[in-house]
């Protein structure tokens, strides 16, 4: 009931969303998030992003968070695809698709998964510009977004 893929190739968001709903009539809401490589970073034009990842751990971490999302919300389908390697402006980076009977659950699960991919999935972005290669720094904003979902400790 969940599809998780790490791949170098591009993905087809529409085909992934269609695969979740095909032949079903219990799904009332589908949320698709696509993360795309922008052409500039803090105002400076970039040539490309290179995504490095820790493959085995990324699969484990994403699977764990997908299972967590499935326990929190009544999901009828989840797909996560994360690319790695060199990605140029305008190209896709990441895809999250969530399906549910009702929109609230689909939206919440998609945001939850994106917040965790940003802060917990072992991927690192390096920005390549005309003059340099620099590693993207983690942001406090992304940490705060992920912290929204933390369960109170017992």
């Amino acid at each position: 009931m969940a599809t998780i893929r790490l791949q170098r190739e591009d993905f087809d968001a529409a085909a992934e969303a269609a695969a979740l709903t095909r032949g079903r009539s219990d799904i009332g809401a589908v949320v698709t998030f696509t993360g795309i490589c922008r052409g500039s970073e803090d105002g400076d034009p970039i040539a490309a992003l290179t995504l490095e990842h820790f493959a085995e751990m990324a699969e484990t971490e994403i699977t764990r968070h997908v299972e967590d999302a499935q326990q929190r919300w009544a999901l009828l389908g989840v797909t996560v695809v994360h690319r790695y390697g060199r990605i140029t402006p305008g190209e896709n980076i990441v895809l999250v698709v969530t399906a549910s009977s009702h929109r609230g659950e689909a939206f919440a699960a998609a945001e939850f998964l994106m917040d965790f991919l940003k802060t917990r999935a072992p991927f690192w972005k390096q920005v390549e510009s005309a003059k340099s290669k620099t590693w993207v720094e983690a942001t406090a904003g992304d940490d705060a977004a992920a912290a929204r979902w933390e369960k109170p400790r017992g």
Binding site: E52, F54, M57, V94, P122, W124, E137, A138
Partner: protein
């Protein structure tokens, strides 16, 4: 024990992974960072600010105080910037 490095930690150390025999007094992730930092200039540079380095034992995130006994693989990397 297998040690893996990613992103700028990997670049500074100059290798993706290595197998290391650890002395018995290195018992936590934090101890291991201190011990690695003393192995040479490239390690000193990589681990100069251990607070910003994250670690995983056997593919799970751990805190610096985590015990390393029984670990097969320990990875060091900067905060994640995926998504």
């Amino acid at each position: 024990m297998k040690i893996r490095y990613f992103a700028w930690v990997r670049e500074r150390v100059g290798k993706t992974d290595e197998d290391i025999e650890l002395p018995p007094d290195v018992t936590t992730v934090s101890d291991l960072m201190t011990w690695l930092a003393a192995r040479g200039e490239e390690y000193a540079h990589a681990f100069e600010n251990p607070k910003v380095i994250r670690a995983a034992i056997d593919r799970s995130h751990v805190r610096p105080e985590a015990a390393i006994s029984g670990a097969r693989e320990i990875a060091f990397f900067p905060p994640m910037t995926g998504g």
